[in-house]
Symmetry: C2
Subunit: 402 residues, 2 copies
């Protein structure tokens, strides 16, 4: 039999191939890994979730194990809406849709908006799994350069006018992969440009609450209302393994389509997981739990920044995140991060080379470092190894540094 | 702002609109419902799942709450493969992919195979949520009449030759909506036709183990090997709310594409849910649990069949399932089931009129009755109400019966 796959899956998947390669090398085991984006497991409320499960099943077992509605468990949606209300966002229970992690949220948004050949805009660089999800629908992907203040409003404005994209996808707080955060000024200028256009802004905000420095940001949703679709996740503040994220969409017709799509693709998200999480949130102080994670990640970020200062050559540079999970480093001119990644893997240190975070740039000098899932000692050791290899690469390429 | 939705979601969704209507009426509450396909909650192993969760989180909490791989938790995949092996199917752990219920399995299979305009074949009538998932990819849907012995091999053969469909979707055991089961002879003739073609057979088998009469069926997978993609679910034997299903695909290149697609749409299925279920399955006797469900459903089916015999006019007919959850009834000629559904809803009895189970037939005389989620008394009362309304409809249309 001849296997006849859909064009959808036959299209090249650069981001996916790159990820698979990383996973294959990682499977070799016993590595220093700065490549992934894993939360630190010491932050998982294991005991509390066990207690929440016992309580849900003893009081409400039938409901937790039966089919449920596609929009999600109402008390959990209410709880999410209430947390936004406390931050001053006009969001109600009816605006929330529960998803299997925020990856599904991105796929659902793309599915309801993108026809083949439609333009969308993303940051350059962009979260790679978002690119993967969007590419399923074969859009024309435009990119806007990400500066330390955020995406360039001028470049975005030009694209909005020229290409009339379906949406602009952004991670405005502690962006993945760069760790950068949009300034309030840039947010306001981008919001003005969006409001003059027919383009939605997709605000992906999984790291928002992991701010360990500076002041809380102004949400695009506050500036844009129903022209902003907001996504969030419990992955970084409670557990990624339980796969619970959400969409906030105050544009009712779009919310209805997202709901219809969700029902078609998997009926609904595990109500067992939703009720366990809801019970946990009601019986524990989430804010003090998040505060502990923030303290931990602040410390780990400082340890990595300090190690970078000591081990990396001065020709290299890197971002100094105010929250989230990532530092974005840039090699001295002329060096490629894929090469660094290969050499480092041989010495047991994994990094995420920048290439798959770009729609089309290749052999870039940038790479992503995750600091949340390594001990102080591992961070020190791994950054030292990377520093040594970079100096060697510089020497080989005829530069100074060794 | 003008909302510009994708064509995908703007296409009419007859099945979805119908479902929404049913759900709206059901929300009115306090009804006799034969409309859904809910397992009986007395069959949910509530205490056992609570104990499994406690055990998983105390021994292996970090793993249960961290990110995992897209194919699913390996011990659970192994367990599924072992159960197939016991039934004589050549299936290994590596052939299994865990999904968010078998609805996601159907969507994933459709996504990896269907390009717009491709032909697929389904049974007439067909499981409505499968039609909904397939329509996302805009195929040309051919249908094969379902007889009491299964889909017509001759009709299928003609379509295979003429349209070269990407796949034939079938629920061969206790089909949804009809409750019918393919005979071994029809299975063998269909398998022969498939083997001569470039068409895959998708064997959707969520009810397989709920056989309460007769002998176990011959799986299409046994006859077709890698030309058969098999889907299964824990929804009907443990819990639907936990959303755990699977795909068996021994065609490696297709398995790889399914895996890549799964990763793009939601990274992976809740590993918390997977590990809890795995732990439950290892510490409890699933076969005796299923035997209890079978006994319960056998009894409920008998109660409903008996009530039909007493309350329905002799001009009506219905199937006599050997397992599963549904009876498929046919009204006397000239009467439409949508009309019966409307009248019955007014008296608090819900049925699923046949229309949304057909790709294009409308105002059909057939409807689906679910017997698994109602007490003996409710079944008796509901069928009596339906019988009365049918006789009234017959009288109004000038037929006998009242």
């Amino acid at each position: 039999m001849e296997l006849r796959l859909s064009e959808r899956v036959r299209r090249p998947d650069f981001q996916g191939d790159f990820l698979k390669m990383i996973l294959r090398v990682a499977a070799a085991g016993n590595l220093v890994s700065f490549a992934g984006g894993l939360p630190n497991p010491v932050s998982f409320p294991v005991q509390e979730l066990a207690e929440a499960t016992r309580s849900v099943l003893s009081r409400n077992g039938e409901r937790a194990l039966q089919y449920n509605n596609p929009q999600g468990y109402e008390p959990l949606r209410q709880l999410i809406a209430d947390r936004y209300a406390k931050k001053g966002l006009a969001v109600t229970t009816d605006d929330i849709l529960i998803t299997n992690g925020s990856q599904q949220a991105l796929e659902m948004i793309a599915a309801t908006l993108i026809d083949e050949g439609d333009a969308i805009v993303v940051e350059r660089p962009c979260y790679l799994a978002a690119l993967q999800a969007f590419h399923l629908f074969n859009p024309v992907v435009r990119t806007v350069e990400l500066t330390p203040e955020g995406a360039s409003p001028e470049e975005l404005q030009t694209i909005l006018e020229r290409d009339r994209p379906k949406f602009f996808y952004t991670v405005p707080d502690f962006q993945n992969p760069t760790g950068l955060t949009y300034s309030e000024g840039v947010r306001r200028r981008i919001a003005q440009a969006i409001l003059r256009s027919d383009t939605l802004l997709v605000e992906d905000n999984p790291y928002e609450e992991l701010r360990f420095k500076g002041e809380a940001s102004l949400s695009f949703h506050k500036l844009l209302g129903e022209q902003c679709v907001l996504t969030g996740s419990f992955s970084k503040i409670v557990s990624p393994g339980i796969r619970l994220g959400w969409i906030v969409c105050t544009c009712k017709p779009l919310w209805e389509e997202l709901l219809g799509y969700k029902q078609r693709v998997d009926l609904h998200t595990s109500v067992f997981g939703q009720m366990v999480l809801d019970e946990y949130l009601r019986n524990n102080d989430l804010e003090s739990h998040i505060a502990k994670i923030r303290d931990l990640y602040r410390h780990q970020a400082e340890v990595m920044l300090d190690a970078l200062q000591r081990h990396f050559p001065e020709e290299a540079s890197w971002t100094r995140p105010e929250g989230g999970m990532f530092i974005w480093a840039t090699l001295p001119a002329g060096l490629a991060a894929v090469r660094l990644a290969e050499e480092a893997a041989k010495e047991g240190v994994m990094i995420a080379a920048g290439d798959p975070f770009y729609e089309s740039d290749r052999n870039v000098p940038t790479f992503r470092l995750n600091y949340t899932n390594s001990s102080d000692e591992v961070i020190e050791k791994g950054i030292a190894v990377l520093g040594r290899i970079i100096r060697r690469m510089m020497a080989e390429s005829g530069r100074v540094g060794a």
